[in-house]
Amino acid sequence: MRQASGVALLLGLMVLPAALGQRSSESHKNSSQSFAIVSFKWDHVKEPYIIALWILVASLAKIVFHLSHKVTRVVPESALLIVLGVFLGGIVLAADHIASFSLTPTVFFFYLLPPIVLDAGYFMPNRLFFGNLGSILLYAVIGTIWNAATTGLSLYGVYLTGIMGELQSGLLDFLLFGSLIAAVDPVAVLAVFEEVHVNEVLFIIVFGESLLNDAVTVVLYNVFDSFVGIGAENVTGIECLKGIVSFFVVSLGGTLVGIFFAFLLSLVSRFTKHVRIIEPGFVFVISYLSYLTAEMLSLSAILAITFCGICCQKYVKANISEQSSTTVRYTMKMLASGAETIIFMFLGISAVDPKIWRWNTAFILLTLVFISVYRVIGVIIQTWILNRYRTVQLEIIDQVVMSYGGLRGAVAFALVALLDKDKVKDRDLFVSTTIIVVFFTVIFQGLTIKPLVQWLKVKKTEHREPKLNEKLHGRAFDHILSAIEDISGQIGHHYLRDKWTNFDRKFLRKLLMRKSAQKSRDQILNVFHELNLKDAISYVAEGERRGSLAFIRSPSTDNMVNVDFSAPLPSTMESSVSYLLREKTGPVCLDMQALEQRRKSIRDTEDSLAHHTLQQYLYKPRQEHKHLYSRHEIMHSEDDKQDKEIFHRTMRKRLESFKSTKLGINHSKKLNKIHKRDRGQKRRNSSVIPNGNIPSENPVQDFTLKEKDLEFSESEENNDYETLHLGKGVDFLANVTKESFADTPAGIDNPVFSADDDQSIYMKFSPWLSSEDTVVPSQRARVQIPCSPDNFRRLTPIRLSNKSTDSFLLADGPEERPRSFLPESTHM
């Protein structure tokens, strides 16, 4: 239902840009001479308006697609967008009788392609990329040349047999077509493979190939284009040689331009500390400049911006602030994804133009056959060569996926659209064929690659939490391997990487990284930081969920609340109690207000206490946001020293709690002491606060509080204590211990934070058994303490410390009692 209406809305909107474009000419005429208060200036805004509308339409289409997971799980988004584009193009055509919109090469190469490639480069997994660089280069260079040559030559060969009928093309035209249809397209590959989740080695090889073969495509295209221009009879050996030289110039030149701009960008980002707001802008502007510069020098622009992204990412990410980094990440993803959407939609729209279509069944079919077959052959031959040198072998299954993943896309279309009709007589045929090939690969192969991957059981990527141990061992491996290479006296992969790391550390980092960033920039430390951060976030989230941060409290009280009693809790009872509390009238009402007041203030102190905890033991976000409007400032300077201190303290804390269980260190003494101190504190508090006796004035009130309260009034507690058998207490204790133990294995998802130990320790030394002056919770309280952070064990070690200093104990005072109110506050 919703989908249907969404589609309807979409359709309505779709027609809008087209209709508006059509009406543009008429609106101009009714402008009058006299001054108009409000005038309709369509022509004034026409261009950007239509662009904006198209973007809106494409984005809305995305929303609609994702309304149904069934569809998007089976059909790749790119295919859906193309179909939508064809559909829209049809509407426009029907309304307008001319195809007014198409994907122009200028728009594509200048505005749509750069964001996608930059995104790919900036988020490139560098290690993986450079680890497989050899294979990627082989596939990208040799593979593309192979594809281009074989496809072109085979088509020409078939043409000579006469099956295709009369064409006005020579060998060079066929080679030109072969070169533009040969290249695997990064946009299409990314769009499809992102949904398939094959293993990372396979992904990086296919994707890297599609990125790097751009240089080859551009060179081949330019070479053959100019050859066609000067005519086949004028092509000499020198021209061919020039072509080969130009390949190296174009590719290496593009790469160098990229590296140069990456250097510049890293250097600039080192000094942006005081202009945080425009910091993200530098990333985009300088990368884009690298693209344009390479284009200007007729070098490979894609290579330039790719390498700009790859090389700068490390330094830029270290230099810019956390917010800027988030901004960069999101903006980049948004631009790339938007550009991708528009590209595919416009590919569809461009197809609907009767003028460009020229059908030649033999040519089109044979092209499809040849590109598929030669891709397979090429992959097999190259993989065979590569496997002799690769450490990780590419298996047959990988080869199938690689062959099948050779998607053609918008680059080919843009290149073919660039062809000059006067020079290339069969341009229309080439365009139609390219469109068919693109549609076939994106839609058909895109649709079938997922089932294929599943059917072949291709190794997939598993997303894992970053683990400290893994990182540490990985580091150890790196060093061991480079040492082994050193010892065996051979220059291998690890040798090179080791040398590069040293060079990087000694020179590049010093030059390109901020001083503070140099310090904290260690991968292992990063993982640690990440884990800590995640912890803190869940801490806060849990607090929000509970409506209070009160679950963060001193361990002495924790031991009592830390058990999950929620299961046996009768919810009807609970609701009736809260109902009673709320609906009370008469004199009690006043009391209730007073109580409310008190509770509020107490909650405030609780919260402040919690904040204090957070501040002390958790990483702070690197900058805090202040709600003051300023165009230029949103940050505070960070305090590195404090961060480090927090880091150490957290760690020490954790280790303590860790030791106590894992290493079996007995804490009982300390615990007891704390307990006593705590109890004393509590006593003092309860005697100081007169409110404690209020409830007994009213029977109903009394009832509710007795039910709910833990240690609300001294007298009540004593009563309870007297009526309570010791046996029951022990019983309770046993339950508690059992439960906490039973819970333990289940609660672990992030092992670093799973030390749920103190809790169980405290259980062992339950207060009413270990010291004589303890306070026993009322009977009901023992079964029903709903606010039990037991399931929140990940964070347990970061509680307030056992050996907390005076500030804590002070804060502890008023905070102790109100826990009794919490159930009410959290359950309402």
Binding site: D486, I487, S488, M651, L655, P751, V752, A755
Partner: protein, 232 residues
């Protein structure tokens, strides 16, 4: 050329291969188990190359001592070089029954260590792969377990992490320790929460590595293998 194909041939081929060396330095008798292990591991060209390297390091002696490793300039920057060199002399890695440290190692031992880093062969079955994996992990484990008690204690772990991070001058020891502690906790949580935890045993170590592809991480492909002398 994968030796696996000529698996039976290689052990016999070796003496021929070292014809010269045999005369010069009396090639050690290769015990049977080691040979079969090696035959899977290193190609004859690589052995040739490693042999030359060995002579270079040992200055034409029969054995290498620890000091010989000091002559490798590139090794100097390796933060855990001590541990790595140590591993070469660790008798546990040398497949000798005894424990402790060797003073010097001969070429055969050298090869044994090197063979820990051989890549996977395509035609290995599950069981072989599993053993292979264990071999490699054992090597790493021995490197961490410096007091040979079969457990990586917290202190040992800390030492390793400190050494690993010593490359970064901005990180203090304190941070390294914190990280080691965190990692140890992580390890403890993987290996069962309710036992008293004294250190990571090899079984726990294996558990930690479950699901992580180490085969790709712990092997060396010698890129510029000299192919001068074929000896078969």
């Amino acid at each position: 050329m994968g030796v696996a194909q000529l698996c039976p041939g290689v052990p016999r081929a070796l003496p021929h291969c070292w014809g010269v060396g045999q005369a010069q330095m009396g090639v050690p008798r290769v015990p049977a188990p080691v040979t079969s292990f090696l035959s899977l591991a290193v190609t004859s060209e690589q052995i040739e190359h490693l042999h030359r390297r060995f002579k270079q390091l040992s200055q034409d002696q029969l054995t290498i001592r620890k000091e010989n490793f000091d002559s490798i300039p590139d090794l100097e920057f390796n933060p855990i070089r001590g541990k790595i060199v140590h591993a070469f002399f660790d008798k546990r890695n040398l497949r000798q029954e005894s424990d402790g440290l060797a003073d010097e190692i001969n070429f055969e031992d050298f090869l044994t260590i090197m063979s820990y880093f051989r890549p996977i062969e395509m035609n290995m079955d599950e069981e072989q792969l599993d053993r292979f994996r264990k071999e490699k992990l054992k090597f790493l484990f021995h490197m961490y377990d410096s007091d040979h008690d079969g457990k990586i204690t917290l202190q040992e772990y800390r030492n390793v992490v400190e050494e690993l991070l010593s490359g970064n001058p901005h990180l203090e020891k304190e941070s390294a320790r914190s990280i080691a502690d965190g990692a140890m906790m992580e390890a403890a949580s993987i290996c069962g929460p309710d036992q008293v935890y004294e250190g990571i045993t090899f079984e726990d170590f294996l558990k930690m590595w479950q699901g992580i592809d180490i085969e790709t991480k712990m092997h060396v492909r010698f890129l510029n293998v000299d192919t001068i002398a074929h000896c078969y």
